[in-house]
Symmetry: C2
Subunit: 247 residues, 2 copies
DNA sequence: TAGGATTTGTGCGTATGTATT
DNA sequence: TAATACATACGCACAAATCCT
């Protein structure tokens, strides 16, 4: 059984961000929904719930201290994002991504990464620059003590940092959706690769992007990201011959 | 009060398509969900439910002869797609699209239209070619008797035809999401424009795309589409100074 | 300002479908 | 093959929030 609370700083950042949005959060129900939604999504893409896992509505409802009804609303959204699939009489299953879809998503993510620098790029603020410096620091730290889960968390936070470089909200939403669809497959494959090497490559990517961001060249940052997605895909293809089959 | 039944051929095509998908439809519940979801989405983007409309869960449940619970599942998905917003104690409101988001979605849709020709383009089958010939025929017919609603329906069907030109499923999903987010805003603006002229331009677009599809040049078709989205956006910008404000 | 009408959110019991023994 | 266990789907009653008079 997992703990409900989490001192994960990514969770906290999300919660704080949603609270500081375009309108003051007066609705506790909406806040709770966002919290649970983000939490479950994180568990799925960090492989706390690996593909094929059967989630129990009742158990989750009990964990969060709510009824099944509001929980089902969360599960419905996760299903609409393609992360879950509820089947009557069977259960709520964490989806897997077949190899074809994985390739397609990666191809599309490459193009979208480049678009970050073309559509409404936003000049990095000192705060954003500071964020990337912090990410770079965490990258260095990770190299000294490689860990798959910390790697995945840094990858998520780096992704969200990149999304701050465009003001095109639909692009952000769509990129996020695609990212979360394949992040767990990427993480699953990492364990079969040279972790130290992957961490080193990622640390270099962060450093390069940080450099581009520091001089305000969002377009360059987006091209760096694109190329690294591309290279990451090539390495994944060379490492992972096995395919998961699941609708 | 609207009728539940619809002899809309787009609806029928969708229903038939979902039934003939990759797995035999043995689940009546899922089929009903898809049917109601597609129907409500169509009503929203055909302005049967204009932005700001308050939908009643109870009334809709009664119309479809079901309880509020399964209906709320449909509304939840529509809300996750950004077409609705449910507010406790107020109602379920059809969203409007503020001008900024409209611009951003159009910019993104332009890029995605081009990607159809770059990512997994699929050689048009004789069936696909026949579909575009039929669309062209409907375009000619529409020119003789211009009608906003028929125009919108043809636009939707044309869009779905274009989606058959790529096998990249994530690209299709995302393009569809963005299309349905702005289709109703486009339709709303059409009424303030020269309908006959817009229909004529659209008919030409269909004819051009049909020509490209006939010779198997999907890339050309995607560039034609991109340029027409671009030009349509310019015309919309020149016509519609007023802005809707709604989260 | 207050109270009633209306709407969505929630909790729970039951129906229905699936898998296993 | 049939029965049993267990999961999600559903319907309904009530709570909570908002709006209008």
């Amino acid at each position: 059984m997992r703990e409900y609370e989490t001192d994960n700083d990514y969770e906290m950042a999300r919660a704080a961000k949603s609270g500081g949005g375009d309108e003051t959060q007066v609705n506790a129900s909406r806040e709770r929904f966002q919290r649970i939604y983000t939490l479950l999504r994180n568990r799925i893409c960090l492989l706390d719930y690996p593909p094929g896992t059967r989630l129990s509505e009742e158990a989750l409802a009990a964990e969060f201290g709510i009824s099944r009804t509001p929980l089902r609303r969360v599960l419905g959204w996760l299903e609409s994002q393609g992360l879950l699939r509820s089947v009557h009489g069977v259960g709520t299953i964490v989806t897997d991504v077949e190899i074809d879809a994985f390739v397609q998503v990666y191809q599309l993510r490459m193009e979208l990464a480049e678009l970050v620098g073309k559509l409404s790029p936003v000049p990095p603020t000192p705060e954003t620059i500071g964020l990337f410096r912090e990410l770079e620091r965490r990258g260095s730290e990770l190299q000294q003590k490689p860990d798959p889960r910390a790697f995945a968390q840094l990858n998520i936070d780096f992704f969200h940092g990149l999304m701050r470089l465009t003001e095109n909200e639909p692009l952000r939403e769509i990129s996020e959706r695609l990212y979360y669809q394949t992040a767990r497959i990427w993480l699953k494959s990492i364990s079969q690769m040279n972790l130290a090497q992957e961490v080193a490559i990622f640390a270099r990517e962060i450093a390069e992007v940080r450099t581009a961001v520091e001089i305000g060249d969002v377009s360059a940052a987006s091209h760096i990201r694109r190329s690294h997605i591309s290279m990451s895909f090539v390495r994944l293809s060379n490492t992972k011959p096995e395919t998961a089959t699941q609708a």
